[in-house]
């Protein structure tokens, strides 16, 4: 069983081929270059190195969001194109799940943080008892409210993700329970984790066709949010006339 992992939810571009118990290759780059220019060349190079043909892949695990809308779609369209051409299934791995899976075996509550701007983070809560456990499914959170929740739980926490450095001062000020920050090799998204957790989900039957797959943004588009405001205020005709409706 060979699984190709694809991760492009935020700045990190990462691809990997994972068999049942081995990461055969993983290629991760954390740079400000569009995934459109990096992702497929990275897959191509990895396959050359492995002397493997892409058709030998059994399934494609893709980091399905949340994250940058555009980043997610580049990963998603790449996975969908490969799935269509190869006739292979896709595995939608929630981005926060795959991030948490990087810290397999941790005794702390695992809390990935992805910077969602607008004073929000994408997050989720995970732990290892006997197996990987989703304590609270991924959601878009106000950081201060998330910290309140973590303090109330009273457990030791380990953070990872690009939402950590930008919010470190807030964490240090407001966290009352002990917390750690994951080290460099496991503190960002990794395609090996996407593929590895993807294998678990595959065995649970959580697969989809390439046509069915779409990212899970966890957030509506700005226009839809405006539309909801307009609907509440009875100003739909303004919206249709191209006028921005603001909440008042």
């Amino acid at each position: 069983m060979k699984i190709l992992g694809i991760e492009s939810a935020s700045l990190v571009a990462s691809v990997a081929v994972v068999t049942d118990d081995t990461v055969m290759a993983e290629y991760t780059a954390n740079l400000k270059k569009t995934h459109s220019q990096t992702l497929l060349p990275m897959i191509d190079e990895m396959m050359r190195l492995l002397e493997m043909d892409i058709s030998e892949i059994d399934a494609i695990a893709v980091s399905g969001g949340p994250g940058s809308f555009t980043g997610l779609r580049i990963g998603s369209a790449t996975a969908k194109g490969l799935g269509l051409a190869l006739g292979k299934p896709l595995i939608h791995v929630p981005t926060m799940d795959a991030m948490a899976y990087c810290l397999y075996g941790s005794s702390s509550l695992i809390c990935p943080l992805l910077d969602a701007r607008r004073s929000q983070v994408y997050t989720g809560l995970y732990r290892f008892e006997n197996s990987f456990e989703v304590v609270k499914e991924q959601w878009a959170a106000d950081l201060h409210k998330l910290i309140e929740e973590l303090n109330a739980r009273g457990e030791k926490v380990i953070f990872l993700g690009d939402g950590v450095p930008v919010n470190q001062h807030i964490l240090e000020e407001e966290m009352k329970v002990p917390f750690q920050i994951a080290p460099a090799h496991v503190n960002r998204q990794r395609a090996a984790a996407v593929a590895s957790l993807g294998a678990v989900y595959y065995r649970q039957g959580r697969i989809e066709t390439a046509a069915e797959h779409k990212p899970d943004y966890l957030r509506k588009s700005q226009a839809e949010r405006e539309r909801e405001v307009a609907e509440r205020q009875g100003e739909l005709e303004k919206l249709a006339a191209g006028i921005v409706v603001v909440e008042h």
Partner: protein
């Protein structure tokens, strides 16, 4: 060559630059075997125009189905394709990226060459689909919601721009006027329809001349004049005859477009004129251009409306001539939102 020139070339083309998700299979550049278009117009109407993020989200939901339908419609398999083509600009960046990433992955996995196509070159090439005798050189007027260009098509994929809009695109002016008189989105077809019951001479709107280049266009002055007319009427409580206004506005746009195009063909000495782009399906423009070309002794070519709107068949046609020239894109092909005509 081993007779390679004689082999049939099948291109699977993908287009997602704005609000239509489209795929097509084109044989030897001119025979369209399938042409699937999934339009999002209804979805964007409630927002008064295309919302880029919503368009991008819809593309990702629809794209595989559209491609599979295109292959099925042509009764062919991916492995039968000679090459994969995709629009990589200009357009909405998020929308373009979906098609580009998808096409690259398909080409990579199916081991097919990849061809990046300029969206506007695609529109021009739409003329080749139903006019087997049309070959460059010719003069082409490209008019859509985002573009107004007057070009000389010197050869396949070789363009000289001789005129362009200095401000609004023609289609943009249609959208804005339609919105102002309450006809809604999309403006082009709505104005076209309303104008059929109106008098094009009822109101006189300015025909802007652009000083230093006789082939450049300007529509913002015309648009402002129409909007002022509407505002004035509203203030004085005067009722606006929408069909008359639509017909008069449309007449002003059409007159400018037709006269510049015909002048250019005469001046540069070309006997063939073509039109392309979404606004090229405007019935008044087609009729006026037809008459003007006939009077001037020029042959006039135009695509059916289905090939004027954004579609992938035109991308497959443009890609065929690129393919024959040996043009190939790499796996790092990126989407370019403001890709200029003639730029590679």
């Amino acid at each position: 060559m081993k007779g390679n020139d004689m082999e049939d070339v099948y291109i699977l083309a993908i287009e997602s630059s704005c609000d239509e998700t489209a795929a097509a299979v084109v044989k030897n550049g001119r025979t369209v075997l399938s042409n699937i278009i999934s339009s999002q117009i209804a979805l964007h109407t409630m927002f008064g125009g295309v919302v880029p993020e919503i368009a991008s989200r819809k593309h990702i939901e629809k794209i595989n189905q559209v491609i599979e339908d295109a292959l099925k419609g042509a009764d062919m398999k991916l492995e039968d394709m000679t090459a994969i083509a995709v629009t990589y600009g200009p357009g909405l960046i998020g929308a373009l990226l979906v098609g580009v990433a998808e096409a690259k992955a398909i080409a990579y996995a199916a081991k097919k060459p990849l061809i990046g196509v300029h969206h506007i070159e695609g529109h021009v090439s739409a003329n080749f689909i139903e006019n087997p005798d049309l070959e460059p050189p010719f003069v082409c007027l490209i008019v859509s919601g985002g573009h107004t260009h007057l070009v000389i098509v010197r050869d396949y994929g070789e363009f000289s721009i001789i005129g362009r809009t200095r401000d609004d695109a023609a289609g943009e002016a249609f959208d804005k006027v339609a919105r102002a008189v309450g006809l809604g989105y999309p403006g082009g077809p709505k104005i076209d329809r309303a104008a059929r019951d109106g008098n094009p001479g009822a109101m006189t709107f300015p025909r802007a001349k652009v000083g230093d280049n006789p082939y450049d266009f300007s529509f913002s002055g015309l648009k402002s004049a129409v909007l002022n007319y509407i505002n004035h009427a509203k203030m004085t409580g005067e009722e606006i005859c929408v069909p008359d206004l639509a017909a008069s506005f449309q007449n002003a746009v059409v007159e400018v477009l037709v006269s510049r195009t015909v002048e250019a063909a005469k001046e540069y000495g070309f006997s063939k004129v073509a039109i392309a782009g979404g606004v090229a399906s405007n019935t008044a423009l087609r009729e006026a251009m037809q008459h003007a070309c006939m009077d001037a002794g020029l042959s006039f070519y135009y695509p059916s409306p289905v090939f004027c709107t954004d579609n992938a068949a035109m991308i497959g046609t443009a890609a065929y001539y690129e393919y024959r020239k040996g043009v190939r894109a790499g796996w790092d092909l990126n989407a370019v939102a403001n890709l200029r005509l003639g730029e590679r």
